[in-house]
Amino acid sequence: MDSFDYSSSEKAEASELQRMIAIEQQKAQFQAQVHNFTDVCWDKCVDSLGSKLDSRTSTCLVNCVERFIDTTLSITNRFTQMVQKGPH
């Protein structure tokens, strides 16, 4: 039956397609992360409306992104330790 007998070129095309889709998924995940960071850091750093992005707000945004990354890593590490130690 032809339809169950994939040629090697079809297999190669399928795995290439999988690879490309994986790249697109990674991009989508990155974009989702940007939304997260923007949401959180907007709340932390933007108080007054209408003012152009000034250096104080810019500094706050950089700090916010960095601290958010630090927090994520710290929590992940601590959580991993807790899980490895077990229920005792």
Binding site: H35, T38, C45, L53, S58, L61
Partner: protein
């Protein structure tokens, strides 16, 4: 854009098999649409919280001004730089997206920060 053409729904007369390029284009479009929806959702959230006090029977002029001019602008002023900063900060994520290979749909709503006027201080 070819992706919105009649072949959007499947292989059809060609024997049921789309080529890799078409599939990837459709995937990109779907992802861009989802991203735009997310952006709109978050902007609406922020706008509503910041600009709408006690909800009246309609949006009055000052509320309209507030969310139209200020909050969308601020969100894009924040979103763009954060996007650019994360591209810089996390090297493994410097994907082809940085080269502007997103579809035209997402370009409408996602201001791509250019390195020349990136406002954030990039000292690590």
């Amino acid at each position: 854009m070819e992706g919105f053409g009649p072949d959007f729904s499947g292989g059809g007369a060609a024997g049921g098999k789309m080529d890799t390029g078409t599939i990837i284009e459709q995937v990109k479009v779907q992802i861009a649409v989802a991203n735009a929806q997310e952006l709109l959702q978050r902007m609406t959230d922020k706008c509503f919280k910041k600009c709408i006090g006690k909800p009246g029977s309609s949006l009055d002029n000052s509320e309209q001004v507030c969310w139209t001019i200020h909050v969308i602008k601020m969100y894009c002023d924040v979103y763009g730089p954060v996007y650019g900063y994360l591209e810089y900060r996390v090297p493994c994520l410097q994907l082809p997206v940085a080269e502007g290979k997103i579809t035209r749909l997402s370009y409408l709503l996602l201001p791509k920060p250019s390195p020349s006027n990136r406002p954030l201080d990039l000292h690590p």
